[in-house]
Symmetry: none
Amino acid sequence: MNRPPQQRSAKRAAPPRARGRSRGVQAAARRQAILAAALDEFSRRGFAAARLDDVAHRADVAKGTIYLYFKDKEALFQELVLSELAPVVGALEAALTSDLPLRTIIDRASELFVREIYGTHRKQILRLVISEGPRFPALAEFYYRKVLARIFKAVRARLRVALARGEISDDALIRFPQLIGAGFIVAVVWHGLFERFEPLDVAALVRAYFDRLFAVARPP
Amino acid sequence: MNRPPQQRSAKRAAPPRARGRSRGVQAAARRQAILAAALDEFSRRGFAAARLDDVAHRADVAKGTIYLYFKDKEALFQELVLSELAPVVGALEAALTSDLPLRTIIDRASELFVREIYGTHRKQILRLVISEGPRFPALAEFYYRKVLARIFKAVRARLRVALARGEISDDALIRFPQLIGAGFIVAVVWHGLFERFEPLDVAALVRAYFDRLFAVARPP
Amino acid sequence: MNRPPQQRSAKRAAPPRARGRSRGVQAAARRQAILAAALDEFSRRGFAAARLDDVAHRADVAKGTIYLYFKDKEALFQELVLSELAPVVGALEAALTSDLPLRTIIDRASELFVREIYGTHRKQILRLVISEGPRFPALAEFYYRKVLARIFKAVRARLRVALARGEISDDALIRFPQLIGAGFIVAVVWHGLFERFEPLDVAALVRAYFDRLFAVARPP
Amino acid sequence: MNRPPQQRSAKRAAPPRARGRSRGVQAAARRQAILAAALDEFSRRGFAAARLDDVAHRADVAKGTIYLYFKDKEALFQELVLSELAPVVGALEAALTSDLPLRTIIDRASELFVREIYGTHRKQILRLVISEGPRFPALAEFYYRKVLARIFKAVRARLRVALARGEISDDALIRFPQLIGAGFIVAVVWHGLFERFEPLDVAALVRAYFDRLFAVARPP
DNA sequence: GATGAATGAGGGTTCATTCAT
DNA sequence: TATGAATGAACCCTCATTCAT
């Protein structure tokens, strides 16, 4: 029945920094811990319903500490998404623009997606972008300009070559490169909503999807 | 303990009801107004951040009135989604199960989607399901059991016939009927996030998508 | 999940007044029904927490109807208490002022209390006065002036005679006539709080109490 | 989504803490301030009508602070009553179980009541138990098991001895130990309701009451 | 008179943010 | 730098009261 303001936990009473870890390393670790905790909480509850109290607990820092690393809840969210997105963008772009055979490119991109995104916590990031993006114009804009626009440009260039070479039979994907990501999107959405009812073999889905998408049609 | 009689607001001082509207009709209209307002606000802010105060304002009713029609915010949300989904389910199921040529079926389903969902406020409903579904298990379950499971069943049956007849060249879509909706999902997600930067011709995208998806492959 | 404003119940759809009951009789019956329902609800929840909605339901009238008979919640409460108190006051006063032997008077008053108050819903009224009285000065004042002051005056007069006659051995009750009611008060308070744990034989308690109170002391 | 930083109120601009008050002491003081303020407000308005806003104001803390110390309004109420009751229980039990002459015991208990309860804010606690107890079963149960049951047991044991010794002349109080508290209850109830109209010398009332209660009767 | 849908002020509770330590 | 108690605006929900029918 009683709830006195909680005593500083035993753990926190320990000396605040492990020996051998420089200040900067420690700070970076804390930042990471907060970001990781934020990802968990934002994924679990959504941006608006997530509580910074829970983030702090999960990151094992005090609530105020979050504000030493991030301006506010919104900044925390945006930096979270951006920091997770950045590393994949380069890889994806590289994969998609190479001059390997189209089929190889696609296979590599698929594998990259399954391994680096769907198989990791980055899947949650993608979900967050899809779910919360509309309320974070800065995020959507970044994502569009820095990720999609560049990828689309590279993809279209490569596809035009492919069309000329007969690797693909029409310009559908040139006009709508969005479709290339459709398999990924569907996988992430399915996972968030229906995994409970019917698990999904994402690698197989993605493979089947690209098989269909890049099949060379014969006249009916 | 006493509360002075509240002044009737200027707005409410207007004639409160058009002649010829029975009480039941009036109630139904109000319910609809609240649902419409709720859709707007939930779409704009997301479930957690939406304020019932704003819903009430937008519906031109008092805050308390919402509670005459819905138990609480969550019930309002769930009924909103369900009431919008229900009418389309039947139509979609009927379209997908017919014995018309596969291509016709697909064209009709596409048209149905573009006209009845993407072209209307139901697009927002789909977005809400995608975004908020994970926090509303009852909703996800309803959607899975009453919509997807039934549609998938019908679709798989039809596709098996199509495969036998050579209308399709492999079993990708039988194994992953999720892919049939991928074009729709991508369209909705794109609209929510990037429409501002690059508008999307959804009808064309869906057409192109199905062209690719149901293309009969020839050996490479 | 759906909660449309409830349809007028079948019962209420019946002709609003039974044949043979004049308008005035009907009105009085309604008033009584409301008062009875109010007593139940106020007793159950206390004045502040009781809901007029529940009162209306219990009285089988519409919420607005209450306001045809009572100005507001507070007036309902006060009239409730007053209307229940009034009939007993006269009887109690009569019983206490008679010129019968003191012991007979006391026995009759006890019996009156047990039969007319403790054995009926008036017990709840007494509880309400005790519990809510401090927030209803008008009520406390009425109760003091119209009930207690008069009873005390009568009692004191009778006790002075009793003291002179040797029916009682000291002036304790003349100075503190409050004590005469102590047994009643204790019974009501006990009932409200602890009846669950340990039921109380109130008639026996009151008898034992007065035996002690009016025992003629012998010098120690 | 942004919230402007709230201005620190003028009041809070004062030096927030006296030197030499450790954090724990400060917290305890705050808790006490809230409990004291709650007692005032609950007494004044009753549990249901009391506003935590007023409690906070009176305790000179922000509304949210209350929730750092108490789970909710109900917990605040229950802890208030319990924290005030606990200290007196022991003393009362000790007083009533001693082997001093019965008259001495009674005198001491009376004095204890007048000094420690009626003369202090605990009088309000007793009122709250009487008024609100029925709506707080946990409270009534605590009060019965931890206070009354124990006291009654001690009292009955002592009274049986007294009866054997001829200190009392019958078993009325053994059967109804409730009556021992009757004087206290009447005093508290009177105070709450009628003090305004007719002040009560409680010490004298209690003395007179016990004189009568423990008078050794002679046959009439 | 009687109804009950509608109203909207009010209050309990939450939680992002601050700041003294 | 890190803490976490404190703050108070905000928001969901309730319910006394009104009034068109």
